[in-house]
């Protein structure tokens, strides 16, 4: 607490010049001298968040592309390219010299570390540290990461981590600079996976198990000064990091102070007013709400502080096709025809925050999306066509179904969307009974095929920007998990689909794989296993003194490594 006034005072001094200039000249333009990466260093950046600080161990974090805050502390073999626009979809080398060299038909991946890499205590980063970091993510004490490593690495399914299980033989480190991964099957997407925090080096001597997150060893531009679970994270510069060994992170602010546990509307209200330290604040998880959008329209100064972007994500209605009445494709098609996407989009905040979806893959070249609309419902649904199909299926007198969904609206597939779906289906003679469930219950019930409700609202986001992590967990028949954690809710097990997935996995060139994923999506779409509803969009505000704000394409949020507050 004693640190705080000093920090505020220091920050205030730094911006005095800019503030006086702003008062004298035309406001807005005078204070925003053009951003220059060479002179952007300095100041304290405040990050105001709703959540995201419940854990900070690189083994337990589940991130896409290494996350917003974790990737400031943990460097990984590869990372997402830090540029605005489509280039942001690409993985680039981080600790490694390249994206990895595949051999044995993409079953083996070899990486070489760059020269001069150091931890925050000055000791060199070796391939063994990277291997150890991955190994500890297999420990049952440190759960939570993405499941891919367990699934892909040879022996990964049975390995229990270094505390009990010794070493994982499928990761080899022939010397301090080289690391080799041996996979059970070809995986052309390995360079994307290597952006995850599990690929961050952890020195074995400094590993304190579950307590490691309180004082992790940094390989990135910042190190942890203070971490309080769920509340605060304070980052200061890591003296052993420099831009000469890291081509991606600009790391402009001297300090970064993150506060979590705030309400979304409070965060956006604070960013709008930009008072005191909030003028140098951003958020990495609180999108502008629908109620504020109208204000952005009427205030041009505010509109300038807004960045818009997309995270590859689809909200959809999922059928269990093994259960009645959804075993009949005509019933599923009827529901697809009846959906009123305009009312769904409005329910979640209108066209600025959501785009109607007719494909399961999100928009963007990286995903390989091929536009299709097999059951055209138009803007507001086609109840006549739906009634016709229902009559053919023997439900001329109407149909009664139950719809299960989480009982909160935070994730964008809660009660508001359910109400819009209910209203649209009513026009087609389908009576929907709402079954709101607590978040915890919902996940447990949906995750097991035996207890899974026949019709649910769902959301699927990209673990990395490619078609694979979108289609494999949802449609691969070998991914039906009977004991929980299942996402193949349609219970589809089609040998042709499985075979195509295996074939695309062998491709190491994303440009070749993408159109194949897109074609597969369009083909599966004909089966009406799910009804895509919308793709969310992000609209985020920044404080008035924050520069170089853009929404990175990979994650759909501000890239903290690029912003400046000077």
């Amino acid at each position: 607490m004693r640190m705080r006034p000093t920090a505020l005072f220091g920050a205030a001094l730094l911006t005095t010049a800019a503030a006086t200039a702003a008062c004298g000249g035309a406001s807005g333009t005078a204070s925003s001298a053009a951003f220059d990466p060479k002179t952007c260093q300095g100041g304290t950046l405040t990050v105001l968040n709703q959540g995201g600080l419940s854990k900070f161990d690189p083994a337990t974090l589940y991130t896409s592309g290494g996350g917003a805050l974790p990737s400031l502390v943990y460097r990984t073999l590869t990372t997402r390219q830090r540029v605005a626009g489509e280039g942001g979809f690409k993985p680039v080398p981080d600790l490694a010299t390249d994206l990895g060299r595949p051999s044995d038909g993409a079953r083996t991946w070899t990486y070489t570390l760059k020269d001069g890499l150091k931890f925050d205590d000055g000791s060199p980063i070796t391939a063994k540290d990277v291997k150890y970091g991955i190994e500890r993510s297999f420990s049952p004490d440190l759960p939570g990461g993405a499941p891919y490593l367990h699934d892909w690495l040879v022996g990964g399914a049975d390995y229990k981590g270094p505390y009990k299980g010794g070493e994982l033989k499928s990761i080899e480190t022939p010397d301090d600079k080289t690391i080799v991964f041996r996979l059970r099957a070809p995986h052309g997407d390995f360079p994307y996976l290597a952006t995850a925090t599990q690929f961050a080096p952890v020195p074995k001597a400094k590993d304190t198990g579950t307590k490691y997150q309180n004082a992790p060893v940094s390989s990135g531009p910042y190190k942890v000064e203070k971490y309080e679970t769920g509340k605060t994270l304070k980052l200061v510069r890591n003296p052993h990091w420099s831009r000469s060994v890291d081509g991606q992170r600009l790391a402009c602010p001297d300090r970064i102070e993150v506060t979590a546990g705030l309400d979304r509307s409070v965060i956006n209200q604070r960013l709008v007013s930009s008072a005191g330290a909030d003028a140098r604040a951003i958020t990495t998880d609180a999108s502008v709400g629908p109620e504020q959008l109208a204000r952005l329209d009427s205030d041009p100064a505010l509109a300038k502080r807004v960045a818009r972007g997309v995270f590859g994500e689809t909200k959809y209605l999922a059928f269990d096709v093994t259960k009645k009445p959804f075993d009949d494709i005509r019933v599923r098609q009827a529901i697809a025809y009846a959906i009123n996407r305009q009312s769904v989009v409005n329910a979640v905040g209108g066209s600025a925050l959501a785009a109607p979806a007719t494909t399961f893959l999100p928009e963007g070249k990286a995903f390989g999306q091929q536009p299709y609309d097999h059951f055209p419902a138009g803007e507001s649904g086609n109840p006549a066509k739906a009634k016709e199909l229902l009559a053919q299926a023997g439900h001329a007198g109407g149909l009664k179904i139950e719809l299960s969904f989480p009982n909160t609206d935070g994730e964008g597939y809660g009660p508001k969307v359910a109400a819009a779906v209910q209203d649209a289906l009513k026009q087609a003679g389908v009576t929907v009974e709402q079954k709101p469930l607590g978040e915890e219950d919902y996940r447990t019930l949906v995750g097991k095929p035996a207890t899974q409700p026949a019709l649910t609202l769902q959301s699927w986001g990209a673990d990395w920007p490619a078609g694979g992590p979108f289609l494999i967990p949802i449609f691969d028949g070998r991914q039906i998990l009977k004991d929980g954690g299942n996402f193949n809710l349609a219970q589809l097990n089609d040998p042709a689909v499985n075979k195509e997935i295996d074939q695309i996995n062998t491709l190491t060139d994303p440009a070749q794989a993408a159109p194949r994923w897109g074609a597969l999506d369009a083909e599966i779409g004909k089966k009406a296993l799910l009804v895509p509803l919308y793709h969310p969009k992000t609209v985020v505000l920044a404080g008035k003194d924050v520069k170089n704000t853009y929404v990175d394409q990979w994650r759909g949020w501000y890239d903290v490594a690029s912003v400046s507050v000077k």
Binding site: R295, S343, N346, K416, D423
Partner: protein, 312 residues
């Protein structure tokens, strides 16, 4: 014998009630309150008729009436008020606000009245049991009353609403839960009154003439309790309405798409800047009804208070 005892009890009570009503008639604020409450009740009862007259219903979406690019606020002034939508439409969905508030009135008033009736029932039965039972029964029931008063009522209600399965009809459940957490006061007042009445001569007379405890409670004690209980009920109804609004506001009330005022207010809070009309309608109605209830209850209390008459 019985006739004689009854005659002794009734003439004592009847003039008092007549006196209360006479005084109430002179209280303009209380009468205005009563009139507003009466109008609200009529509106609630006639909700389907009124919405048919308007040509709308409370659940149909009207996406075309919203400005999608501006977060789904209603197009047009004052929250989209028009000849077709008398009080505008809801942002985000386009559902008709008039249809939703009049249907919401059914929930708000229905639950408030239902809870009050149930609460009086529990309170009177337990209070009479304690006051007339005496001895061990009084000790046990009095502790029970104290126990119920010791719980924070709203938190208890919230917890009860959460654990009961979703299949139980929500308005009924709301009334039951609200009455269950707030009967303590009624029981306490009833017990105190019963204790003072049971020593009256006419009660002794009834007892000597061989009347059983149940008969004494219903025929002798209860009539003497009518006025204080009516005052209490009038005061309790608005409190119960607030409880319902609060529970619905926190998402523990009726299940969507059934509208209620508290629930509408809850979804309106974030819109107060961009669509103030949406907050004003349910908020204003809730305010007006509560004010009316309170004015009426206050009038009844004053009219029934002997000290007040002495001063007047």
């Amino acid at each position: 014998m019985t006739a004689l005892v009854d005659a002794a009890a009734v003439p004592g009570a009847a003039p008092r009630e007549r006196r209360v009503w006479r005084r109430l008639r002179g209280d303009r604020a209380a009468l205005a309150g009563l009139a507003i409450v009466a109008v609200m009740i009529v509106v609630a009862l006639a909700a389907p008729l009124l919405t048919r007259l308007e040509g709308q219903d409370p659940t149909t979406f009207h996406s075309g009436l919203l400005d999608s690019a501006r977060g789904g606020v209603p197009t047009g002034a004052l929250g989209g008020i028009s000849g077709e939508h008398w009080l505008g439409v809801e942002p985000g969905t386009g559902r008709d606000v008039f249809a939703r508030v009049v249907h919401g009135a059914r929930v708000s008033l229905g639950v408030a009245f239902g809870a009050t009736v149930l609460e009086m029932l529990f309170g009177v039965v337990i209070g009479l049991g304690a006051g007339l039972g005496g001895g061990r029964a009084d000790a046990v029931l009095s502790r029970l009353i104290e126990l119920s008063l010791a719980f924070p009522p709203f938190l208890l209600a919230l917890a009860l609403m959460a654990i009961v399965p979703q299949s139980v009809p929500r308005p009924l459940l709301l009334a039951a839960v609200i009455s269950l957490v707030s009967w303590g006061n009624v029981a306490r007042v009833t017990r105190a009154q019963a204790l003072s009445l049971r020593t009256r001569e006419y009660v002794d007379a009834a007892r000597l003439s061989g009347a059983g405890p149940a008969r004494i409670a219903v025929r002798e004690i209860l009539p003497g309790l009518t006025t204080p209980l009516l005052v209490l009920a009038a005061l309790k109804a608005p409190i119960n309405m607030v409880q319902e609004a609060g529970l619905s506001f926190l998402g523990a009330g009726v299940r969507p798409p059934t509208p209620s005022w508290g629930q509408m207010l809850s979804s309106a809070t974030t819109w107060f800047r961009t669509d103030p009309m949406y907050v004003l309608v349910p908020g204003g109605l809730l305010f007006l009804t509560l004010l009316a209830f309170t004015l009426f209850a206050d009038g009844v209390r004053k009219a029934a208070d002997p000290r007040w008459s002495a001063r007047a």
